[in-house]
């Protein structure tokens, strides 16, 4: 089986927000909607303070609470693990948005534009179907499907890889098949210590954060 997985290396992310911009460009999201968001977190207390940049978004969970609660079946999960929204089915009740522990879902009540009036490029890409419904990161599912149809490998070939990963200038973001032990993401997870956010909620997110290299002792202990 395939299970698409995203990795963010917290040691590498510099908070440049290029992934956020690339996502907005690729998916034409309106102002205030960031399917790929980068948090700027300050952790600790003076003088031991650390600044951490944390890319977040839909975690494409194994057991997505958004799908469980969705009354219209608009939210579904593909066999490859990607959680999708059918904008034609969604009633915009926002139940999924309050069920998501990652604040990954947005509902835009009315059209909004970066500079008030609709610009030419906003006009070209405006989608009425996204108004009044839930939206979120799709892992650029159209790029993945296009790539697979053309014999490309998502996470390796840029044409088949989510826009945020392609744009990351620090190579902090990686994407690939988490079920393939030889994939780039499996290798990264094998070589590094990682965690998933809000693990205690039991959603099984497919978004991993790397925070340190594994040392030999860890390997022997199977960590």
């Amino acid at each position: 089986m395939t299970r698409w997985t995203m990795i963010a290396d917290l040691r590498r992310c510099v908070g440049c927000q290029t992934c956020t911009a690339a996502c907005k460009h690729a998916n034409a999201t309106p102002p205030g909607v960031q399917w790929r968001r980068v948090l700027d977190m300050e952790v600790g207390e003076y003088p031991n303070v650390q600044r951490v940049f944390v890319p977040t978004g839909c975690q494409h969970c194994d057991d997505p609470p958004c799908m469980t609660v969705c009354p219209s079946t608009a939210t579904r999960k593909r066999p490859d693990g990607i959680v999708t929204i059918d904008y034609d089915l969604c009633i915009g009740c926002a139940y999924c948005a309050v069920a998501c522990p990652y604040q990954a879902r947005y509902k835009t009540e009315k059209p909004t534009f970066a500079y008030g009036q609709m610009s030419e490029h906003e006009q070209a890409r405006f989608d009425e179907g996204r108004i009044g419904v839930a939206t979120k990161c799709t892992f650029c599912v159209d790029r993945i499907d296009y790539g697979l149809e053309h014999g490309l490998t998502p996470g390796i070939d840029p044409e088949a890889t989510p826009a945020c990963v392609n744009s990351c200038l620090a190579q902090a973001l990686a994407f690939g098949d988490g079920d393939d032990p030889d994939s780039n993401v499996s290798q990264l997870l094998a070589r590094n210590k990682s965690f998933r956010m809000h693990e205690e909620v039991g959603t099984g997110p497919n978004f991993h954060y790397l925070w340190d290299a594994k040392d030999d002792d860890d390997d022997e202990a199977g960590r």
Partner: protein
């Protein structure tokens, strides 16, 4: 311990969503209580009509909130797992059986059972929200259900005395429900405190006075009414009216607060910090 983006109050569900829990809870509670108390004659009709009206207004509130109201029928598509679909599926049966019971009183117990199911669905809707710690707390289910029942009992005692109905047993039941609601609410608050949810806790505590006034004060009135020697009819009526209003108001205030003030998400947290450069001790 992280000090990143702190939890913030969810904004997806506003007063309109709260209206569904307020109207639906009170309406279902009233239908149940009116059936259990054996309301008769005109009072029975009035209580059933008020109950259905409250439930209907609650559903209208939700309809006014959804982004695509003309697709509202899609709400029925996922009863396998969605408590919202289940609530929606019960609603027409409840409204139909309730309306039919106006003509055929023998159908009222069926409507009452459906009201109980509807109320339970509402409580589970909130508890299924994994993104909101104050809602996903398991104690939310009995608390929201007990709140609806106490509100219904309060409404009954606002209306029943005008028709000369309401006996000591239903008066004491109001007191028992108020006590149950207060005990469950206190336990729910303790669990929030133990789970370190300070933002939600602050919102809860800001309405603590209203919560206590809506639970303990009417409970005291119930005890006074039960223990005191027979009161003049006007005094008894005022006592019953006040207890009912407080029970109703306290429940409505709690649910409004729960949805619109205590619905903080859990923010973001990092169990580990990135190790860059020289390792920290």
């Amino acid at each position: 311990m992280s000090y990143g983006p702190n939890p913030w109050q969810q904004t997806n569900w506003d007063a309109r969503a709260a209206g569904n829990f307020m109207g639906g809870g009170a309406g279902c509670g009233l239908l149940l209580f009116a059936t259990a108390a054996g309301a008769q004659g005109t009072l029975r009709v009035v209580l059933v009509v008020v109950a259905l009206a409250l439930i209907g207004v609650g559903l209208l509130c939700v309809w006014a909130e959804i982004g695509r109201p003309w697709r509202a029928l899609n709400v029925f598509f996922h009863p396998q797992t969605s408590w919202m679909s289940r609530e929606a599926a019960v609603a027409p049966l409840l409204m139909a059986s309730g309306a039919a019971s106006l003509l055929w009183p023998q159908l009222q117990p069926l409507a009452a059972v459906l009201a109980a199911v509807f109320l339970y669905c509402q409580a589970r809707i909130l508890q299924a929200c994994k993104g909101i710690p104050a809602w996903r707390e398991p104690m939310t289910v009995p608390l929201v259900a007990a709140t609806g029942l106490a509100e219904g009992a309060g409404l009954y005692w606002i209306l029943a005395p005008w028709w000369g109905q309401g006996n000591i047993l239903s008066w004491l039941t109001l007191g028992a429900l108020l006590l149950l609601r207060f005990v469950l609410g206190s336990a729910w608050r303790r669990r929030l405190a133990a789970a370190l949810r300070p933002a939600s806790l602050r919102a809860v505590d800001r309405t603590a006075l209203g919560w206590k006034a809506g639970s303990l004060l009417p409970l005291a009135l119930v005890l006074i009414g039960a223990a005191a020697p027979p009161l003049p009819s006007v005094a008894a009526l005022l006592l019953q009216l006040l207890a009912g209003l407080l029970a109703l108001g306290g429940g409505a205030l709690f649910k409004f607060m729960l949805v619109t003030k205590a619905g903080f998400n859990q923010g973001f947290a990092l169990p580990h910090l990135p190790v860059r450069g020289v390792r920290r001790g």
